[in-house]
């Protein structure tokens, strides 16, 4: 168990891993995540499961290098083993036939959004996808998303591919064109999810976001992942990770995500020193 079967670089900082985890693969539903440790002194980090193959007993996880743990994870290859892997965690996403849905993925969030988009498509929804990244090299899962979408929009902050601008520009246009939108699912950086929610709120378009706070156990034991939704404190690991996008306090989420910024720099420096 926990053996890496295959890896693939999706962009310069995003890597995909197919990992042997038969029990997790069997139970997994779109929207759920796992918690892993890379080595014995490592921290526990949550990562969303992008796909699961119950028959072969594998799950696919996607990691973007943002700190020491994800950097160490990025150095692992097929044949290596994760120290610990536990899941599936969190509530599965709501999959129903809503009508026409827009799935928005920002950066590595596109890979996280993909299984939910696919499940929604399979449930009979018409699927409009908007995926964005800072530049074209950071776009992930473009082909996969295209294959399941009725309509695909691509945006890049620098204009290197698709629309020059943000995913919200496209969403705004679709809203203005009075395209039928029964539900929006937005997964990406907190700032992007906040912008999406601000756009859809006045139009009362149901918007679901997937939150990514800091976690330790992932089973509701520590409360590190507390988020404020509709003025109530929730634990993202057991009450989420999906929440009503119009009710989330994104500023609190962003503040709490910055809690260990200083320590992350120290850890990263130590890692790069060890490499040389």
């Amino acid at each position: 168990m926990n053996e890496i079967i295959e890896t693939k670089e999706l962009s310069s900082s995003v890597k995909m891993f197919r990992v042997k985890a038969p029990e997790i693969a069997k139970k997994y539903k779109a929207g759920q995540f796992v918690i892993l440790r890379v080595n014995e002194k490592g921290e526990r980090i949550p990562l969303t499961v992008a796909d699961a193959d119950a028959k072969n007993g594998t799950i696919t996880i996607i990691s973007q290098e943002v700190g020491k743990t994800t950097a160490m994870l990025g150095q692992l290859n097929a044949g290596d083993r994760l120290q610990d892997l536990v899941g599936p965690l969190g509530k599965p996403s709501e999959i129903e036939r809503f009508g026409q849905v827009i799935v928005i993925g920002g950066g590595v969030g596109t890979a996280v959004a993909y299984p939910e988009a696919r499940a929604l498509k399979n449930a009979g929804n018409k699927l409009i996808s908007i995926i964005g990244a800072r530049n074209k090299d950071l776009l992930v899962f473009e082909d996969e998303v295209r294959a399941i979408s009725d309509e695909l929009h691509i945006t890049t902050d620098d204009g290197s591919k698709g629309h020059h601008g943000f995913v919200t520009d496209v969403l705004k246009e679709l809203i203005e064109k009075r395209v039928t939108i029964d539900r929006v699912i937005a997964i990406g950086p907190a700032i992007m999810m906040k912008a999406v929610a601000n756009l859809t709120r006045p139009h009362r378009i149901k918007t679901v976001v997937n939150l990514n706070p800091i976690m330790i156990d992932g089973t509701g034991m520590c409360g590190a992942c507390r988020v404020s939704v509709g003025g109530q404190t929730k634990f993202a690991c057991v009450d989420g990770p999906s929440f009503d996008g119009h009710e989330v306090d994104y500023d609190l989420l962003m503040t709490r995500l910055r809690m260990y910024m200083e320590q992350e720099k120290v850890a990263m420096k130590q890692l790069t020193k060890a490499d040389h």
């Binding site: 002194k41 899941g87 509701g220 503040t255 850890a267």
Partner: protein
């Protein structure tokens, strides 16, 4: 901090015991250890006899010797209590257990294999006790643990300075050597359900998942950076070794001025941890008076000796943060004591207009925790009470056939020894059920 007796000291303390003909100490013990009998062995220098006597009723004496609130149990009933110095039963228990550990724990004889399989969910005090007893009775036991290390609250909650991890490790090894398989990283209610366990051939399921869901006060500012639940604060340090950051990767915010809210053992543990993380000033804020504190007397003493300050009859009302979202001050109210409430303790009553602000940079909320609802939510036919605890009979049997539960998931006694005592009863009941 208590360092433990050497042989001479233990024998001297044991000689004080009067061997009362009808010993009240034993009645004060939740698992009815024959206390005068084990003390008699120590008196004679028969330490192997002492540990054997203890283990008749208690699988984990090295742990309970350190974490039991003896002053409310056995030692409270000791005839010498009235004269102020009861026999130090807890310290003697710890001595006998440490003696055995040093010498090498002997594995007792096991019954012949019954061919029956039992799943034990959770590897804390209740789970380890049930697993040990059931394995000894010849059953094929698997222990499922959600975290990456077994031990439950004994590893994530209780700090090294109060309960060395080597002792927990030895107890876990003891259960493994009895033949129980311990599977970490497996969450029952997520990775597998209770129904999966029955379907894959387990004949009975014991649930000992504890009280792992932390409570917050729901006051303004409680989600500011620098404010932790006791569970998170202690887990970062004990399980993840954040005190050794950056050697270990898990960080923790080291505050200079820390407050810990609550009066139980977790509050004392968190306060002493805050000191060790470099806190210059650590305060415990508790809304009642010293007499009502649920923590063990020894823990309160240890905390005070180390420099923790107790702000009694004080209750936080809100936290104030700086522009970056970090906690900067806590506002508290002074409390008076009114007439007794439902718990029999005098009810704290806020004193109007007594609000005051204290500058802080870390706060730990240690006001208690409830049961984790994952199993109840995913197990058809398992009844829970209003407090989300699993409803059981006096032997720990739950509403659904084949399922037992003990420890904090089934009762609110909240001590390691009660969890173990009830787990022992469940183990026996499971044995009878399987051998029917």
């Amino acid at each position: 901090m208590a360092l433990g007796y050497n042989e001479e000291e233990a024998m001297a303390e044991a000689r004080r015991c009067l061997k009362c003909p009808s010993p009240t100490c034993t009645k004060g013990c939740p698992v009815q250890i024959e206390i005068p009998a084990f003390i008699e062995c120590i008196k004679k220098g028969d330490f192997d006899g002492a540990i054997a006597k203890l283990k008749e009723k208690n699988n984990l004496p090295g742990i309970t010797g350190r974490v039991c609130p003896q002053e409310l149990q056995c030692e409270n009933e000791c005839i010498f209590k009235k004269r102020g110095a009861p026999i130090a039963i807890g310290a003697l228990e710890r001595f006998a257990a440490d003696y055995e550990l040093k010498k090498g724990v002997k594995i007792p004889e096991k019954a012949k294999s019954t061919g029956k399989r039992v799943a034990v969910v959770g590897s804390g005090p209740a789970g380890l006790t049930a697993a040990g007893d059931l394995a000894r009775l010849g059953h094929d036991v698997t222990v499922f643990e959600a975290l990456h290390l077994p031990g439950g609250v004994l590893v994530y909650g209780i700090p090294e300075f109060r309960l060395p991890k080597s002792i927990v490790k030895a107890e876990v090894e003891y259960v493994s050597r009895l033949g129980a398989e311990i599977r970490t990283n497996t969450i029952i209610g997520r990775t597998l359900t209770v129904d999966d366990l029955f379907e894959t051939g387990y004949d009975a399921v014991f649930i000992g998942t504890g009280a792992g869901s932390p409570w917050f006060m729901r006051i303004p500012g409680e989600n500011l950076n620098g404010i932790y639940s006791a569970n998170e604060y202690l887990t970062r340090c004990n399980l993840m070794k954040a005190y050794s950051f950056p050697e270990y990767d898990t960080p923790i915010h080291r505050g200079k001025r820390a407050v810990v809210v609550g009066g139980g053992n977790a509050a004392m543990d968190a306060a002493r941890t805050a000191l060790r993380l470099g806190g210059d000033e650590v305060h415990i804020i508790y809304r009642r008076s010293r007499d009502e504190m649920p923590a063990r007397l020894e823990e309160v003493r240890n905390a005070e000796e180390e420099g923790v300050q107790l702000d009694l009859l004080t209750n936080p009302t809100r936290y104030l943060g700086n522009k970056d979202g970090w906690v900067e001050r806590v506002e508290c109210l002074s409390m008076g004591l009114g007439p007794p409430d439902e718990s029999g303790r005098r009810r704290p009553v806020p004193m109007k207009g007594s609000e005051f602000l204290t500058p802080i940079d870390v706060a730990v909320v240690a006001i208690g925790q409830g049961p984790n609802p994952l199993i109840a939510q995913t197990t058809e036919g398992l009844k829970v009470g209003d407090d989300e605890r699993i409803i059981v009979d006096e032997f720990g049997k739950a509403s659904r056939d084949g399922i037992w539960a003990a420890g904090d998931i089934a009762s609110n006694e909240g001590t390691v020894i009660h969890a173990m005592g009830n787990a022992k009863k469940s183990a026996l009941a499971i044995h009878e059920y399987l051998m029917k």
